[in-house]
Amino acid sequence: MPGKLKAKIVAGRHLPVMDRASDLTDAFVEVKFGNTTFKTDVYPKSLNPQWNSEWFKFEVDDEDLQDEPLQITVLDHDTYSANDAIGKVYIDIDPLLCSEAATVISGWLPIYDTIHGIRGEINVLVKVDLFNDLNRFRQSSCGVKFFCTTSIPRCYRAVMVHGFVEELVVNEDPEYQWIDRIRTPRASNEARQRLIFLMSGELQRKIGLKVLEMGGNAVVGYLQCFDLEGETGLVVRAIGTACTLEKISTLPATATHPSNSSPSKDMKEPGFGEEAPGVPLSSGPPTPLRAQTFSSFSPSKSYSRQSSSSDTELSLTPKTGMGSGGSAGKEAGPLKALLRQQTQSALEQREYPFFTLTAFPPGFLLHVGGVVSARSVKLLDRIHNPDEPETRDAWWEEIRQEIKSHAKALGCHAVVGYSESTSICEEVCILSASGTAAILSSRFMQDGSLDTEHRFEEVVPPGCGFCHIPYDELNIPFPAQLTYCYCCRRYKVPDVLFTTIDLPTEANVTGKGCLIQARLCRTKKKAQGEGNATAISNLLPFLEYELHTQLMNKLKLRGMNALFGLRIQISVGETMLLGLASATGVYLTALPSPGGIQVAGKTPSDITYEQHISNMQKKINDTISKNKELHEINPPEVVEEIIGSPIPEPRQRSRLFRSHSESSDEVSELDLSHGKKDAFVLEIDDTDAVEDIHALLTDSPTPAGFYSCNTEIMPGIQNWTSAIQMFTSVRVFRLNANLTNQGLNKIFSDLCENLLKSLYFKLRSMVPCCLCHLNFTVAIPEDELIQVAVTAVAMSFDKEQSLENGKQSGEKTLIKAITENDEQLQFNLELNAETSSPNPLSSPKGLSEVGSHPSARAPSVDYSSFADRCSSWIEQLKLKAHTIRRGSVKTTSSLEKASPLPEGRSRSLRSNRSYSGSSVAVVKMTPLSFIPGAKIIKYLGIINMFFIRETTSLREEGGVSGFLHTFIAEVFAMVRAHVAALGGNAVVSYSMKECVFMENPNKNQAQCLINVSGDAVIFIQESELESTSVQTQSATTHTSNGGEGT
């Protein structure tokens, strides 16, 4: 039912001069929600107006509350002519609709204009009163929590994981409407921004409804994308994983435990306890009926699938699928079969057993099959009826079915780490979907037969279980070499494993990982319509095949045997196709050692030629051993014969199977021919192979002190400091016409390499550090242009301890390691005690200092609302800390004396803390789901923002670079401001999903669209948390363990 939205306009600052004569501005504000508009008084002649308005109240349906943004427009009053707009602020009020998220939006928000950028700031207060709590859950989807994070959010636990939710809405793109010819660029940009806001809201509401129908209360791994199709319209689509989450109360300071659940239990199992059914859900219906859930799962899908045979559809599209091929799915061992039938029965009733999660609660992910992917090329047509976007739905339907069948072929019943994407050029659109085929435990999916499963589960060693093949070894859908697991020696594992998920926390890894990229360019003839689509579909399998070969070769070259976080992006332009595959390579201890790469020529008669080959071979071998050293890969030597491994012909050199877990239906045929020649891969006669080798050897290693990965964290690095730096870097490269494929490849590869080098150089002050979650996106904005955008986070870590950890992993020094470990633990404790002891003395002093200096306080005043909220909170913590420490002073001091060592470190920690205390306004951003050294205590809601910026004075704004630099900085600033207004101090799982840049230097014009998203959170430093209470001791040690593991 309805709710009341209240908004108050407090003040403005740094407004632009709108009246040249007086150098001042007569500003007033329009507040609009739906069709209702309020205005403030005009505040004459000021650049820092104080409106201090009344509360503007909007009485609206909660459906509107979910769909509409609050729109605030700042204008300059003009007596004689029309009022000039200064800029706008859109506020997404969704976070206010959920009882567990934010309660008020209050703070300075940048006033944004699509032509001029940020023009001053406005201070607003926004609240929502929802009338009837119970009723609203039934009527709309208010209260469903959304998370971009692709794992179970840190302060929740999963009671149940319901499964895949998807929705898409379409509309006409305002930029292409007839009216656009007569309106100003500003009006058209604003229409577009507003429309997308509305569509996102609607989409979120509809997804929320589906979640409620399934009996969930949250969407995790929410991924929303825009397809700017141009003439044919604008599609906003989203996928996610419906879950039932329960908040973990870890903070005794604020904790009032739900009366039913005992706190001690929570302590023991703060993660994901088996007693789930026993614990009452905090919200949502306690036990959703399965029948109800499934029957109403996807109501929009009721049409028959025949609708997919529309005229525009090209059935000749390749529908490439990795890891598929052949018929499979026969069940193997009886135990496994039983298990599979159980979970499968649960999963098979779902239309799509897909999960957008990339990290899972322990025990959820049982086995991983390999990457599955599907692509299809479509011709865009006009969407005639936006209310029933059947064709778009059908397209995705088709691809998902494909993925599902690929997973089945791998003997898997589920797909995890699932994502979808598109690439559009003119009227051609490539739809892609990919994920990792897997077998999941039914523990988190409503199923009664938990117990049998459990018993089975406990037998599987946790560190290697997920590597064990899920498919039938006698009926492998593709050629692969199986061995017994190098960890448990009981189950079969493949020789390489490709996945789209994050490395499971429990996985046994040898050494460190690294970013591996395969890059490829393919020219294509200019064509129109169906001809063009056909050409593209014909090219796709080859592109994918080569990308895969490159990945495999690079993986071997680094002496690794598994890829995580694999993401293959294929971008289409008028005259070329671009493929970029990124993943993080690791050495899984459970999998066999990858062996080398062997080069051979076909004409062995020539001596010089032989020499050339042996030279190359030497180079490759050298690189492999160097890489192994670099990534600290020194697996324990195992003599295979002793264990009696059933590998048909054990060879030192493992072969590179181009085919493994790869290839589409068509390609797999190609593969087989390759795979049967069971010698090696790189034949030098093959020009492609020469190119491959060159590509292999030109990848320069990361400079000393740097590591990089595209997953959440790097295996082998644990001691993250709190220093993080999120960044976005964009490069556009202009190509010459008439380049060969090789030339293009080289350029593209160099472009990516140079970009990485630049990043390393920029971030050199953070060494030792790791670039995590390196997310590359490529695009072909126009002919002969390649755009590469990277968003990642650089995180510093402590070198000494990481070395120590490395030592510990050595097997022979086991006992020593244990003692060392003990020492280290003690060391940690000392550190805690020491660092915390000066806290009550130093920090309150810092606070009072700030208070006494009015000038010093000035900057923080602006964030007062936030500061107040936080400081009262911190104050509370400090009080607690103080009382506790009084009891333990003695031990602290004795420890202090005993350890002269950690002083330097503790000082640095202290300074860190006082630093973060002094600047309240700092908002951290990270693409990861966590913040190192800190604990997320509250999720405030999803941030999903879309901005357009346009200029007609490109040169004056510093050219294209200046223009984009400013715009990205502005987007960051707006994200930070909105998070701060929600009361947060960080954004996690941040991503820039869209960065469309168009320029016309001749006209001195440029336009850019950026879409960003993330989760607004409140975090506190763990060092502060630890000092809060003795009670939390156990909880914090647990979290720190968790932090290490992740």
Partner: protein, 357 residues
């Protein structure tokens, strides 16, 4: 083939101190890259010239975007566009407002007008400081001048608060503003040997003792202008040289006190009347704005140069000025003790600072 667009934006704005300094010094991007390459950063970080160029361009762009904010340092702290840690902010401001001593010597005491700005290219060639850097420094002077001109209260404090400058830098700016406001002549050949710090010290003395703010900081005109009443009163000191008895008496008192304590006693005795006339005449003329401008040149011509030609040491100078000041108070018919103290206190410390052995 070319990189058409290349940007890097960090959530925390990354700024390299070294590049910032090169930017402030007015180097072009290419020159800055050359300097960096020579500095050896490439070998240190395994970078190529390309990487360095990209980084330098990026940094320069960031600085240009920040420059607008640096003009109003208070804004830097509460703007939202760049997330810059407070210590970095302080560094940015301090370095932006830092200036070259050789540059400031060229414009010290000049009117901060468009005309002066036009002549900056001459200053640039003379000092070897890039024109860009000269312009920035000049604009800084002008900006600070404009803001504090209208403000009440103590000059140094105003500058420190409005521009968030560290104490020493705020004092230097106070000196620059004070000199510009009173248009003191500092460019004459005879004054060339004086450094900016010499002048800054003197300015501090004048601001603290001779302005209205020195006696009463509630008044409107405060620190930038000299206390008119005091200048008027200075005319009364003329009696020290016009009254022959007083002059003789003063001389004998000083001579008695100094006899045997200095190597230049004879020169001092011979020159006493000339020197005394010089100092008192300067005092008497200060009521005219034109003579205020010549204050430093007068001090040098009438007092410092004669002493230097007689080879006085700084110790001699100190001794002489101390006794010269104190003896006047013993004179029977001399009544203007307060004015004398206020005048001679400043004169003494200025001369001692300006007298280089």
């Amino acid at each position: 083939m070319s990189v058409e667009l290349d940007v890097f934006v960090g959530n925390t704005t990354i700024m390299d101190k070294e590049v910032y300094q090169l930017w402030l010094n007015g180097y072009t991007v290419n020159d800055a890259v050359k300097v960096r390459i020579e500095g050896g950063v490439m070998e240190e970080c395994e970078a190529s010239a390309e990487v360095l160029l990209s980084d330098t361009m990026d940094q320069y762009r960031t600085f240009q975007m920040c420059e607008r904010l640096l003009h109003h340092p208070a804004k830097l702290a509460n703007q939202l566009l760049f997330q810059i840690p407070p210590d970095r902010q302080a560094m940015l401001i301090e370095r932006y407002y830092a200036f070259d001593d050789s540059f400031v010597r060229e414009v010290l005491g000049k009117k901060l007008s468009k005309g002066t700005k036009k002549d900056l290219d001459d200053v640039s060639t003379k000092t070897g400081i890039t024109l860009k850097s000269c312009r920035r420094q000049f604009d800084n002077f002008k900006r600070v001048f404009k803001v504090v001109e209208e403000l009440k209260g103590p000059l140094v404090e105003n500058i420190r608060q409005h521009f968030l400058l560290p104490d020493q830098l705020a004092r230097d700016y106070a000196a620059i503003v004070f000199f510009a406001n009173n248009r003191f002549e500092t460019g004459k050949k005879k004054l060339q040997y004086l450094t900016f710090q010499d002048f800054a010290f003197c300015a501090g003395q004048l601001i603290n003792n001779w302005t209205l703010g020195a006696v009463d900081n509630m008044t409107e005109d405060m620190d930038v202008d000299l206390d008119k009443e005091f200048l008027q009163d200075l005319k009364d000191l003329k009696i020290l040289i016009t009254d022959k008895d007083l002059l003789d008496q003063h001389k004998s008192l000083v001579c008695t006190a100094l006899r045997g304590k200095t190597n230049v006693f004879n020169e001092m005795e011979a020159n006493f009347k000339n020197l005394s006339r010089g100092l008192v005449n300067i005092a008497a003329k200060l009521i005219n704005a034109k003579d205020v401008r010549d204050f430093f040149i007068d001090l040098v011509e009438k007092f410092i140069e004669p002493c230097r030609s007689d080879k006085w040491t700084s110790i001699d100078m100190n001794l002489y000025l101390t006794h010269y000041t104190n003896s006047a108070h013993i004179l029977d018919t001399f009544k203007h003790h307060a004015v004398w103290t206020r005048y001679m206190g400043v004169i003494k410390s200025c001369i001692l600072k300006m007298y280089h052995d």
